[in-house]
Symmetry: D2
Subunit: 98 residues, 4 copies
C-alpha cells in the first residue's frame, strides 16, 4: 500500500528540546529510503505503509533506548486510488493558485 | 511493541455519512482481537503496533474496495516504558478527580 | 458556529504524568458550560467555537502558570450544515451496528 | 497568546479535490496578516490564537457557503514560555543536523 503520511513526534517527561530526537528519526527514514519533507510540526513521508510503520516503530524504540520514558506520535495516513499522489504535487496544487 | 492508539478515519469524495465504514473497521479490529473504546472522533485501541498497523492497512484496503477513492486516517501512537498503560486507567486518571 | 471538537493536550519538558493538568482543563470546560466526553486520548467537546477556542486558550495559560514551559494541543474541529451533530449520536451510529 | 499552529482541513461529502478550498483558506490567512508555510498535509501558521481561531472559523463558514456540507479540521497548537518560537527555526533545528 503506497501512502502519503505526516509524522509528528513529541517526548513527554524529558526536556523541552525535541529536535535532537527528530534528527534521529530522519536518519531512520533515510535508512529506509523514504522521501521526506520537513515542516514546523512534523515530516511528510512518501512510501509504503509497511516501510513507514516499521520506521515509526524503530523511532519509538530508539528514543526509548536514549532514555525517554514516554512518547506520543501523531500520524496522518492518506491513500487514494483515483490517481497517484506525492508530496510536491500536493504542495503545488495550493501554491500555484496563490 | 505494546501501544495505545487513537484511530480516526474519514472518507473523501464519498457521502457525508462515514459510520458504515467505521463499523467495518471495528469488525477488522475484532478479528485481530484488539481492545477498543469508541468515542465521537475515533476509537482508542490497545495492542501491538504490528497488529494495529496491519489492521489499519486492512481498513483502508477494504474501504477502497467498497468504492471510496480517497481516505485520510489520523493515528495517535503512545508508548511508555516507565509503567504499563491501558485505555481504562487513562480515562479513570482524569474522571476520578472530577 | 456550533461545533464538535476533540481536544488532546500534552505537556513537554515536565514529568510523564499529565492527568493533573487535564483535570484543570475540565474545570475550565465545566466553567464554560461545555458538554464533554473523556476518552483515553482526549476529550470530545460540544459547544460554540468561540467558547471552545477561548477555553483552550485558558487551559494553555493556566498550565503555563502552573510552571509548564511547553504545551502542545491537538484539536479536531467538525462542522456540518446538513443536520445537527452531537457526541452521543456519533458514538451510537457505530455502536448500534456492532 | 502568540502561538504556532498547524492547520489541516478536509471536506467530506464533496469531491476528492480539496486544494481549491485550501486556496480560499490561504486568502483568509493572508487577509489576517498571518505568516504561513504550506506542506503536503496542511499549513504551519504563526500568529495570535485570537487571529488564528477567528480565521479558522471564517474558513469553515466560507467553505460551507460554497456548498460543502461537512468539514473536519485538525489543528495543532503549540505554546512555550521559555523562549520564542517560529516556523523557520523549528525547521532549521532539524535540517541543520541532517
Amino acid at each position: 500500500m503506497i501512502v502519503l503520511c505526516d509524522f509528528n513526534l513529541v517526548t513527554i517527561g524529558d526536556g523541552t528540546s525535541i529536535s535532537k530526537y527528530i534528527v534521529e528519526c530522519h536518519k531512520i527514514f533515510q535508512k529506509h529510503g523514504l522521501k521526506t519533507n520537513i515542516h514546523a510540526f512534523g515530516t511528510n513521508i512518501e512510501g509504503t505503509w509497511d516501510d513507514i510503520s516499521s520506521a515509526i516503530a524503530e523511532c519509538h524504540n530508539l528514543i526509548h533506548d536514549l532514555g525517554v520514558k514516554r512518547i506520543l506520535s501523531t500520524i496522518k495516513l492518506s491513500t487514494r486510488n483515483d490517481r497517484e499522489q506525492n508530496i510536491q504535487e500536493k504542495i503545488d496544487a495550493v501554491k500555484n493558485h496563490l
